[in-house]
């Protein structure tokens, strides 16, 4: 008797790889979405700053729009988007 694999359909789900489980701004889990969105995932992405803090993109955009100084809410360093 011999068993050989002919094909495999594998399944995985993706999650955000964040340094915290919650967004520091809206306090909603990164697995979920920001408080303005309904569905998590590609439509409500996370963004990382060079300071390595991450937020829902919609949350940090709102904060930066409300502020003169573009600083990270967590560490008060200048906020700059970390490029890939």
């Amino acid at each position: 008797m011999k068993v050989k694999i002919k094909g495999w359909n594998t399944v995985a789900v993706w999650k955000w790889l964040a340094n915290d489980d919650k967004c520091g701004i809206c306090r909603a889990p990164f697995d979920g979405c920001c408080s303005d969105c309904k569905v998590p995932g590609d439509d409500c992405p996370l963004v990382w700053g060079v300071c390595s803090h991450c937020f829902h993109m919609h949350c940090i955009m709102k904060w930066l729009a409300a502020q003169q100084n573009q600083i990270c809410p967590m560490c008060r360093q200048d906020w700059q988007l970390k490029s890939e």
Binding site: M1, K2, V3, K4, I5, K6, G7, W8, N9, T10, V11, A12, V13, W14, K15, W16, L17, A18, D31, G32, C33, K38, V39, P40, G41, D42, L46, W48, C54, E84
Partner: protein, 823 residues
């Protein structure tokens, strides 16, 4: 004299054409005014002396006038000079003699009375009904004609009598039918002849109608003529139909009623209820036609008569007729039912009991049918849905052919069908109660939504059924499902099962037609499924497309790096938010060659999407293996867990391996290992199982640590009763979507979600209303939730109490049955 030059049209007094008469009267009116003004100038030349005896007196003039009056009454011909002289004489006499008007009036009265006296004698000379009527009608018609002519010369009299000097009102007065002379004529006729013989007239007319009802023919003009005299006789300008209504209509209706009181009872006794119904129906029609002939149109008489007929023909036998209804519904006698419906629809509150009969029938017949087929339909969702639809069509066809799709009957059908669909006596879905938190006891529910979802799956998945049907057939059947779904109380259960099936189809690439899949989502939206649910389904399709792109990129890259081996690997990387419920990880020791792919995929994904990590859902993963033994070589579709178990024998094909050792080898958690082993030793559709085991057990729970398992060296695919050397078979069964433990939580989730929805809905209603009665709250709550589930009274009560306790709302102190929102 100049006035003789006035040209009157040739005047034939026998003229009976009324249109002609109207023409004449308008011509006369013009001439009359002209005449008056001319006479005024003439009269100016006469000296007007108070003491002198009038030069022209009534006594002088009357003998000249009277013969013409008699001629007119008798409808004898009057020539133009005679006619014109009448005007002149009346005018003159009224001008010279102050008392002339009253005198003329009195003299006219006497002449009319005398004439009527003679006419009465002529009428009463006939004793036979028809002759009497004929004579009366002829006398009346003549007289009535004259009522239009005779008053004309006496305008001057009218003016004096009414003491209305203004030209305007004179003009008005003698133009209408209500001149004094005319009134005098009609009243005289009324008092002298009519009052005396009206009883005989009516009796004779009704006798004729009765004769007609009994099938005898006669001149209907006689009855019509009598009616006309009643209508025209009335001189009361306020209510011109008074005499007609108080006498003719009344006696017509009474005669009809007493006729049928006898006949109907008799007919019913002789012919039975069902024949009677036909009789009553035809008589109603007949009487309506007759009424249109004999009763005055636009007087309300016809309606009054029909009300009376319905009363005596239908309402009087309501109970007997309605008693036939349940049997007829049962026997599907639609023609007879339609008759009952048409009869009862005219009776006040006649339909109510029929609605109840229909509801009772649908409930009983529906549930009996379900019970009869219980063995089949609890196993086979296709049969179940077919039975349900067959019932729906049957009930709808009764409503359509017997009750003309009357909205009241449609509502009853819906109400009763809903009960059948949601009935729990044949099969029930027991939702588990929450283990922690507030104690929730749930009521058993119908499995209908689950079976509907299963049926949808059969249609949308690649199955023998979906292969057999055409695309249009499938669409029609899906629409049928939506039709039944409308009646399902707990649509949330349907949604859960439907989503689970869809997940399996997408993961296993098992959809028969992806376009139909997406159409179905839109149809669900159209029938009012909650938007957030439908959106989630739509997102799954979107997500699977993203994943397909990713898969082809992966294969492309893998082929370049490692050669064609990558072709056998497919990856599905899904968005956790759109698909997953539980996030529990199930450990499994994969076959080594698969294990190698894991970091490859992870690295590939990391490069694509920085900031994301993958969580493997091996319980959803699956594949194809080639299994060879002494009999032959077979392609088997298996789950990844089955693969892991089978690989335990790869190095030791002949060994018997204990349960305990299999667990060590696969690293599967206990419930998953048991389930997987069971699927390999007792797969329902396979005659020779892949694995053998000992000792024999009845369920996977009974495997012991030292139960042993070994590969069936005789395994083969059996086709047409013969073992095959080659073959392909799927051992996947229903793909597992979550772990055994989280599945239980899943059903609890339904209940928890319902509690949440009830709370949300109550708050929403209160926020809007501020204050609401308990009864109203229940109604609005059911309405808000109707597209998801029907909340039980108990659940509502508990949630209200919880919300009160937590100060979201309070009871109104003045009225404990009302609630107030607390903000």
């Amino acid at each position: 004299m100049r006035m003789r030059e006035c040209i009157f049209p040739i005047y034939k007094l026998r003229c009976s054409l009324s249109s002609h008469l109207i023409l004449l009267s308008s011509l006369e009116l013009g001439n009359m005014n002209q005449l008056s003004s001319k006479m005024a100038t003439i009269s100016g030349s006469y000296p007007k002396g108070g003491q002198d005896k009038p030069q022209i007196s009534f006594e002088d003039q009357w003998p000249k006038m009277q013969p013409t009056i008699v001629k007119l009454l008798r409808q004898e011909s009057v020539n133009r000079p005679e006619w014109q002289d009448m005007f002149y004489s009346v005018h003159q006499v009224c001008l010279w003699d102050e008392k002339a008007a009253a005198k003329i009036y009195k003299a006219l009265q006497e002449n009319i009375a005398e004439f009527i006296g003679q006419a009465q004698q002529r009428v009463l000379a006939h004793s036979e009904d028809q002759a009497l009527l004929k004579a009366y009608i002829s006398e009346w018609r003549k007289f009535f004609d004259q009522c239009s002519y005779l008053p004309k010369p006496f305008i001057q009299v009218e003016v004096s009598l009414n003491n209305h000097p203004s030209n305007n009102s004179v003009g008005k007065k003698h133009r209408g039918d209500d001149s004094n002379v005319r009134k005098l004529m009609l009243d005289s006729w009324n008092n002298q002849i009519f009052m005396n013989i009206k009883q005989r007239l009516q009796a004779s007319a009704m006798k004729l109608v009765r004769a007609e009802r009994n099938g005898e023919a006669f001149d209907s003009q006689l009855v019509i003529g009598v009616r006309e005299s009643y209508v025209n006789l009335c001189s009361d300008p306020e209510d011109k139909l008074k005499i007609y209504r108080d006498n003719f209509e009344k006696s017509y209706i009474e005669a009809t009623e007493s006729f049928y009181q006898v006949k109907a009872t008799q007919y019913l006794q002789d012919n039975g209820v069902q024949n009677y119904m036909r009789y009553a129906f035809s008589k109603l029609k007949e009487e309506e036609t007759r009424a249109k002939k004999y009763l005055e149109p636009a007087s309300g008489s016809i309606q009054a008569l029909m009300d009376c007929c319905v009363g005596v023909l239908v309402t009087a036998f309501k109970d007997q007729i309605l008693a036939e209804c349940p049997g007829m519904i049962k026997d599907n006698e639609t023609e007879k039912l339609q008759l009952v419906f048409k009869l009862m629809d005219r009776v006040p509150d006649g339909i109510g009991s029929m609605l109840n009969d229909l509801e009772d029938h649908i409930k009983t017949a529906g549930l009996d049918d379900m019970k009869l087929w219980a063995d089949v339909i609890t196993q086979d969702s296709e049969k179940y849905v077919e039975r349900l639809l067959e019932l729906f069509r049957r009930f709808s066809s009764i409503v359509s052919s017997a009750f003309c799709d009357d909205p009241r009957f449609l509502t009853s059908r819906d109400k009763a069908y809903k009960l059948v669909v949601n009935d729990t006596s044949v099969f029930r879905l027991d939702l588990p109660t929450g283990r922690q938190g507030p104690a929730v006891k749930t009521q058993p529910e119908s499995r209908c939504p689950e079976l509907l979802a299963n049926y949808c799956d059969l249609l949308l998945r690649k199955t023998p059924l979906s292969k057999r049907l055409t695309s249009d057939d499938i669409e029609a059947r899906l629409r049928d499902v939506l039709l039944v779904l409308k009646y399902v109380q707990n649509k949330d259960v349907f949604m859960r099962y439907h989503k689970a099936h869809l997940t399996r189809r997408l993961i296993l690439d098992a959809s028969a037609d992806s376009e139909k899949e997406e159409n179905m989502v839109e149809w669900l939206r159209e029938v009012g499924m909650p938007a957030d649910y439908v959106n989630k389904l739509a997102r799954m399709f979107q997500d699977i497309k993203v994943s397909e792109d990713l898969n082809s990129q992966f294969k492309e890259q893998y082929r370049l790096a490692k050669g064609p081996i990558g072709d056998s690997i497919n990856i599905k990387i899904l968005n956790a938010g759109a698909w997953a419920r539980g996030s529990e990880r199930i450990s499994v020791s994969l076959p080594l060659e698969l294990e190698d792919y894991i970091p490859e995929v992870e690295e590939f994904y990391r490069r694509k999407h920085n900031g994301r990590k993958l969580q493997w859902y091996h319980h959803m993963a699956n594949g194809t293996i080639t299994f060879s033994n002494s009999v032959g070589r077979f392609d088997l579709d298996v789950t990844t867990f089955q693969m892991a178990v089978l690989f335990a024998w790869n190095q030791r094909p002949k060994d018997k391996i204990s349960y305990e050792n299999l667990r060590l080898a696969t690293e599967l958690p206990d419930p998953e290992l048991r389930k997987t082993l069971w699927s390999l030793v007792a797969f329902p559709k396979v005659k020779r199982q892949l694995l053998m085991y000992s000792p024999e057990v009845q369920s996977p729970k009974e495997f012991a640590e030292n139960s042993t398992f070994w590969v069936n060296q005789e395994f083969t695919v059996i086709k047409n009763g013969r073992p095959q050397k080659r073959g392909k078979i799927s051992l996947i069964g229903r793909l597992q979507l979550s772990t055994e433990r989280s599945r239980e939580e899943d059903n609890e989730g339904i209940v928890q979600l319902r509690i949440l929805r009830v709370q949300e809905a109550i708050i929403k209603i209160l926020k809007m209303r501020k204050r609401i009665s308990n009864a109203q709250l229940q109604v609005e709550l059911v309405d808000i939730l109707k597209n998801m589930f029907l909340p039980s009274k108990k659940m509502i009560k508990e949630q209200i109490e919880w919300l009160i306790e937590n100060k979201y709302m309070k009871r109104d102190e003045a009225d404990i049955n009302s609630f107030i929102y607390m903000a």
